[in-house]
């Protein structure tokens, strides 16, 4: 059987970051999906998912925000594709939490004045690429293999945790990022800090914490011989990319480690023009590395 | 071979007939089997009847047509079961018949290695009241065939015939099942009471069922008498409940009971209902692979128990 064409189509929840600080994640996602002929239709009128702060302040609010988004997504065909690790986590947590808590569910449904769709499959882009689209098909779509590029895949806290909620891959020793990027011809490194916290939103309130934690991550990646980091979360990206200079100053160690969104690298590999992938909005300039590897 | 929008092309059956004859001759001539259980033409035009062929020359008598309604699995465990003493037996089987054969293997009544199964691709057979001169159509096809999912047998020794695209038939049995399920219990009770009251306890349903192979039926016992044997409504009700319960998780859905019933009691509705329940509860379906245990002979610790206080 030849691979089915044009069969996959998804509703798409970009989330706030992808319309702002992580615009390049959004652009590269759309570019990648277009190149792979996977349909992607943005959910109209979506709201903030509540991100990491809402559930610390008001649980009902955080659940209701996601419930509302799920209700909105109901109107768009296809499973719900999510790029941002935090949005993904919140949406999954909401479904998981409301599935076995009728009382909460009633409250939430009252708050959003409608039904919550707990059945709508929420899928991270990685899952779509690795499972729905398939690694073989992905490999077949690669025009420009990322050969020679040593990538440290960084998962952060939210992609696989807590256990039983996202069900993306093995909770503590996942390989899905490695498998996806290897399909695009890159080499992955075995490194220790794939799952450690980057400091997240302490970046504003206690930057010192972020400098330490993100610094450890960069050191570990460098120790393993990686040329660059690959992430799937706008906040991690911010900490590792924007704060990299400060970390270098604090530790006195040079990293020069570009931090890519996974879709940027994949889109590059399947032949999307580099000019459309937002490389210019990255703080650590990736172009020298990409040129060196003959990728641009 | 093409089927017009409404009818099934008889050529499909003709092709199967040729292939069955050739296969039967081959296995009889080579001595691979001692006999072939199949169908031959009946005395009246357009009819068919079961037959056992032992002479290669008689292989040409075998046919396959929409009149081949009988489930031949029956002939290996009950009527004519002595034929099995002769050696390996070939049997012609439609998808539904094959499920019965497979069920019997799971119940230790048949051994796969003692059979040579000639699977036939079947587009359907005639309903009880069909005009036998017409090709199969919405008007003539049997109820069970309208929703058949096993046109092509699997795990056979040989499967003959090619399935072409079939017309869409109204799923009358599902519709009837849905109608009953939508009724109140009281309405259902009067539905079945009316049907069962007509039962004359001829036990044709039992005789024709490949799974009713007990030496002595529970319902014929008198010490103790679990089921009243006279054809009174009370005993009839008990008989049909016990029958349906005993077939639950075993029935292959050949609907021979319903076909054989002289009083037109819709027996397959009960079988269909139980099959669906067991599928929903335990994911069990009669299939083409023998199972070590049926759904009512195994369990999972986390089986549904929402009905238990």
């Amino acid at each position: 059987m030849t691979p089915a064409k044009n069969l996959l189509t998804y509703s798409y929840y970009p989330g706030c970051s992808l319309h702002a600080s992580a615009k390049e994640y959004d652009e590269s996602t759309r570019g990648l999906f277009k190149a792979l002929k996977i349909g992607l239709q943005e959910v109209p009128d979506w709201l903030c998912c509540g991100a990491t702060p809402a559930h610390n302040v008001d649980e009902l609010l955080s659940l209701s925000l996601c419930a509302k988004n799920l209700a909105l997504a109901d109107g768009v065909e296809g499973d719900l594709a999510v790029a941002c690790a935090a949005c993904f986590s919140r949406l999954k947590v909401t479904q998981h939490h409301l599935a076995d808590n009728d009382a909460k569910r009633t409250q939430v449904e009252y708050a959003i004045d409608g039904k919550v769709n707990l059945a709508k499959p929420v899928k991270h882009l990685l899952e779509i690429l690795a499972k729905d689209f398939g690694l073989d098909n992905l490999a077949a779509a690669v025009h420009k293999p990322l050969s020679g590029l040593k990538v440290a895949c960084y998962y952060g806290c939210l992609l696989t945790r807590p256990p039983d909620v996202p069900q993306l891959d093995c909770v503590e020793a996942p390989t899905i990022m490695e498998r996806v990027i290897a399909a695009a011809g890159a080499e992955t490194v075995d490194w220790s800090h794939r799952m450690e916290c980057c400091g997240a939103n302490f970046t504003l309130s206690r930057p010192g914490v972020v400098l330490k934690l993100s610094g450890d991550i960069l050191q570990s990646a460098k120790r393993a011989g990686a040329h660059c980091l690959m992430v799937a979360c706008p906040l991690c990206h911010g900490n590792l990319d924007i704060r990299q200079k400060e970390i270098e100053e604090a530790t006195g160690e040079r990293f020069d480690m570009p931090v890519f969104y996974m879709t940027q690298l994949l889109a590059l590999a399947v032949g999307v023009s580099p000019s459309k992938l937002g490389f210019d909005s990255m703080i650590v300039n990736p172009l020298p590395l990409l040129r060196e590897k003959g990728l641009v | 071979m093409t089927n017009s929008a409404q009818t099934i092309d008889p050529a499909l059956y003709a092709a199967v007939t040729d292939a069955v004859r050739a296969e039967a001759r081959k296995v009889l001539e080579s001595g691979a089997v001692a006999a072939v259980v199949g169908w031959q033409a009946g005395r009246r035009a357009g009819t068919a009847m079961p037959t056992i062929v032992t002479d290669p020359a008689k292989a040409a008598d075998l046919i396959f047509s929409p009149a081949c309604v009988n489930n031949l699995a029956l002939y290996l465990t009950k009527a004519k079961k002595e034929v099995r003493g002769k050696g390996k037996i070939a049997i012609v089987a439609k998808g539904c018949d094959l499920k019965a054969l497979v069920g019997l293997m799971g119940e230790n009544q048949l051994k796969r290695e003692e059979l040579h199964i000639i699977g036939v691709v079947c587009a359907g057979v005639q309903g009880a009241a069909a005009d036998r001169s017409l090709p199969l159509s919405e008007a003539t096809i049997a109820g069970k065939c309208r929703e058949c999912t096993v046109h092509t047998p699997e795990n056979t020794d040989v499967t003959v015939g090619t399935l072409t695209e079939l017309p869409h038939f109204t799923p009358t049995e599902s519709a009837e099942l849905a109608r009953l399920e939508a009724m109140t219990p009281a309405e259902r009770w009067s539905f079945w009471k009316e049907h069962f009251s007509r039962c004359i306890r001829c036990y044709a349903c039992r005789q024709v069922c490949p799974f009713c192979y007990c030496e002595q039926c529970l319902c014929d016992r008198n010490r103790p008498q679990a089921v009243e044997t006279t054809p009174r409504p009370a005993g009839n009700m008990a008989w049909h409940i016990v029958r349906a319960m005993h077939l639950a998780g075993r029935c292959a859905g050949c609907a021979e009971c319903e076909r054989a019933c002289p009083m037109d009691i819709p027996l397959n509705l009960l079988n269909r209902k139980m099959a669906r329940e067991l599928k929903e509860l335990y994911g069990h379906e009669a299939g083409f692979k023998p199972k070590e245990k049926g759904p009512l002979a195994e369990y999972r610790e986390d089986d549904d128990q929402s009905f238990i206080k």
Binding site: P163, A173, S192 | N108, C214, L218, P224, A297, E298
Partner: protein, 665 residues
């Protein structure tokens, strides 16, 4: 017509207060088939029983209903009375008009009516009762012990000392099990080998013990008192009867670089080897997978150097059949390997802990070999990677245990104590070293256990950090341990030279396969299930099979030895009689009607149903029917409810008896 006697008890006033017992007796007398009915103040008293016996004789009764308390209370009493009156005891039934009637109802009229109905029901039942005779089963006074660790050794020695023959089967080339691998044992720190090896020698020298090492259970047939065990004696390539154990073969074997599994791969051994110097039997075995002779036929040194000519390259596996009457299962445990996810296991791996990829991350048993005076390092604690003495050692408890999200929710029970022991052994050998322990809880119930643990902290200066470890990674020549200290509420990072993981205790691989052969049940982790958690902790639900040691659940040495002796005691109890007698509530097959659909076999929780071939006098097979082994049948009756033709029937609960009761409604 039957002649039933009905005896209505007042139970002092317990029944008669709410039930009009005279009326119940009077109504009972009117039931067809009742030849005699009376009431009495205390039926269970001597005069009451006397009354019953007298009535049996006087009225020639052929069935008895005692309407009194629950049968759980006095059924035995009245059946014995019936028996001494010459009646088959199973023709005596009780109508429960106390617990189920007089005590739960206040209205006298209602209660009396109900009591009469209950009596009527039981009279109907008694009419269908059949005489039953207790089943006797002969007992072969010979025991099989599976597993030659401390549990199996203890059980075998106890049974053998009681004068019974024992067959001990061990999978490895030597008995000894895990205890032989340990260095010193808690809480006394006595040397494991010093207390273990004498027992091993006792086994070897015991006239009542037949030892099969390098052997496995191939098949189990039969039932309590009458098992037939087929043992596969794997080809050793060394003739046990000829070998003197001189060790020249091992010394001369050119192939010397095979990882020593007994030493947890820390050292090497030749292709012909005994697992450890004190092995019992001291007979080597050729590891055919690694022996050059078996790989390419190009060696033969051992055969040449063997004086007694004990080497036999052509030796094949042998099957030995041993008849036994009881089985003790003592297959022990293994440590959960976190580096790889066992195939088909629901247990998730621990990739983030680096065991198997970081050489200086080891498990507890490996540490035992490092610390053992007879181990590969002679008891010197060194790192596997570079042989240096580790100055900072981190011990991590509960790796795999009590981790529901990883697939194991139970506590492995021994790790708290052995980790405390490890910190002590380490401190005794590396005086300037520092031990850290990450722990969730310290569980130290047991005689002198908590004192031992406290000593590790207070005297041996182990630093206990309450918290979990999230990740281990190699950084230079150190292993960084990232964890948390929940008491202080901080994240902790320790750069360790060596990390020791207390990984979960699991049943032996293949425990499920053996259980299926034996027909015993096991839990989702494959630990064997005892018949009752409290009151039958060493019996299996399958009669005649007993459990000892960690195969039933994680256990330390004292508990293991206690359970082994308990299992041995159970075996001796069984062997104290020549014949076994049991209640005849068992299923029987009506072979005339059975069509061998074998639904009974499929549902039987005891594996008591077999296929039976019926043959004519010439030996021709007529047909196959089901057969219920009365020695194995537990008497639940699930077979009967599942039998389409009711060709199997449970004595004491036949369809006739039940239906007769229903008919009285």
């Amino acid at each position: 017509m039957s002649r039933i006697g009905v005896f209505v008890c007042h139970c002092g006033e317990n029944i008669s207060r709410t039930v009009d017992v005279e009326k119940v007796a009077a109504e009972a007398a009117r039931i067809p088939g009742v030849a005699y009915a009376t009431d009495y103040k205390y039926m269970c008293s001597d005069p009451g029983q006397g009354l019953l016996k007298k009535a049996v004789a006087e009225h020639k009764l052929d069935g008895i209903v005692v309407a009194a308390c629950s049968p759980r209370m006095h059924e035995k009493t009245f059946r014995n009375a019936a028996k001494s009156a010459g009646l088959n005891p199973f023709l005596c039934e009780m109508a429960n008009i106390r617990e189920h009637c007089s005590w739960v109802h206040e209205d006298r009229e209602e209660a009396t009516e109900k009591a009469s109905a209950i009596v009527e029901m039981m009279v109907a039942r008694v009419k269908k009762d059949r005489k039953l005779v207790p089943i006797t089963v002969p007992v072969t006074k010979r025991a099989l012990v599976i597993g030659g660790g401390i549990a199996g050794i203890q059980a075998a020695l106890d049974i053998a000392d009681a004068g019974h023959r024992v067959v001990l089967v061990e999978r490895e080339p030597s008995i000894g099990g895990h205890m032989a691998q340990l260095s010193e044992t808690f809480p006394t720190l006595d040397c494991s080998q010093c207390i273990m090896t004498p027992k091993m020698v006792d086994v070897a020298n015991h006239p009542n013990i037949t030892l099969h090492t390098y052997s496995e259970i191939e098949a189990v047939e039969g039932y309590i008192g009458n098992f037939q065990i087929t043992v596969r004696k794997k080809a050793r390539s060394v003739i046990e009867e000829k070998c003197t154990g001189c060790g020249v073969c091992s010394a001369k074997c050119p192939q010397k670089k095979i990882p020593n599994t007994f030493d947890k791969n820390l050292g090497f051994r030749p292709a012909i080897y005994v697992p450890f110097p004190q092995a019992v039997p001291n007979t080597p075995v050729i590891d055919r997978e690694h022996c050059t002779r078996f790989i390419n036929g190009k060696c033969g040194v051992c055969q040449k150097v063997c004086g007694p000519g004990a080497i036999d390259y052509e030796q094949e596996d042998r099957l030995i059949v041993e008849p036994v009457g009881a089985i003790v299962v003592a297959t022990g445990f293994e440590l959960y390997s976190i580096s790889e996810k066992p195939k088909g296991s629901p247990i998730k791996g621990y990739g983030e802990f680096g065991h198997g990829t970081i050489p200086d991350v080891i498990d507890g048993l490996t540490f035992e070999r490092l610390a053992s005076a007879s181990g590969p390092t002679g008891g010197k604690i060194i790192r596997p990677s570079d042989g240096k003495e580790p100055k900072q050692v981190v011990f991590v408890q509960c790796v795999g245990s009590r981790a529901r999200e990883k697939g194991i929710s139970y506590c492995s029970k021994i790790c708290c104590m052995y980790t405390a022991k490890h910190t002590m052994l380490y401190k005794h050998k590396v005086h300037d070293g520092q031990a850290y322990v990450f722990f969730m809880d310290a569980r130290t119930p047991g005689k002198s256990y908590d004192e031992f643990w406290r000593r590790a902290i207070e005297e041996e200066e182990a630093v206990y950090i309450r918290g979990m470890v999230s990740r281990l990674y190699q950084k230079g020549d150190k292993v960084v341990v990232m964890g948390s200290d929940v008491h202080v509420g901080v994240q902790v990072e320790i750069e360790a030279d060596l990390v020791v993981l207390a990984t979960a205790v699991q049943p032996r691989a293949g425990a499920d396969t053996l259980a299926q052969k034996l027909g015993i049940s096991y839990d989702s982790y494959h630990f064997y299930s005892e018949a009752h958690a409290k009151l039958k902790p060493v019996e299996c639900a399958t009669a005649g099979i007993y459990l000892a040691g960690a195969c039933q659940g994680p256990k330390d040495i004292p508990d293991t030895v206690s359970q082994a002796s308990a299992a041995a005691a159970k075996v001796m109890t069984l062997f104290a009689r020549d014949e076994l007698e049991r209640e005849p509530i068992v299923a029987k097959v009506n072979e005339r009607n059975c069509v061998a659909c074998l639904y009974c076999k499929k549902v039987c929780p005891y594996g008591a149903v077999e296929e039976k071939e019926i043959r004519d006098r010439q030996g021709n097979l007529i047909r196959v029917v089901a057969y219920v082994n009365p020695g194995v049948c537990g008497g639940c009756g699930t077979c009967q409810a599942s039998c389409p033709s009711k060709s199997v029937e449970l004595d004491g609960y036949t369809d006739e008896q039940i239906m007769a009761m229903i008919e009285t409604l």
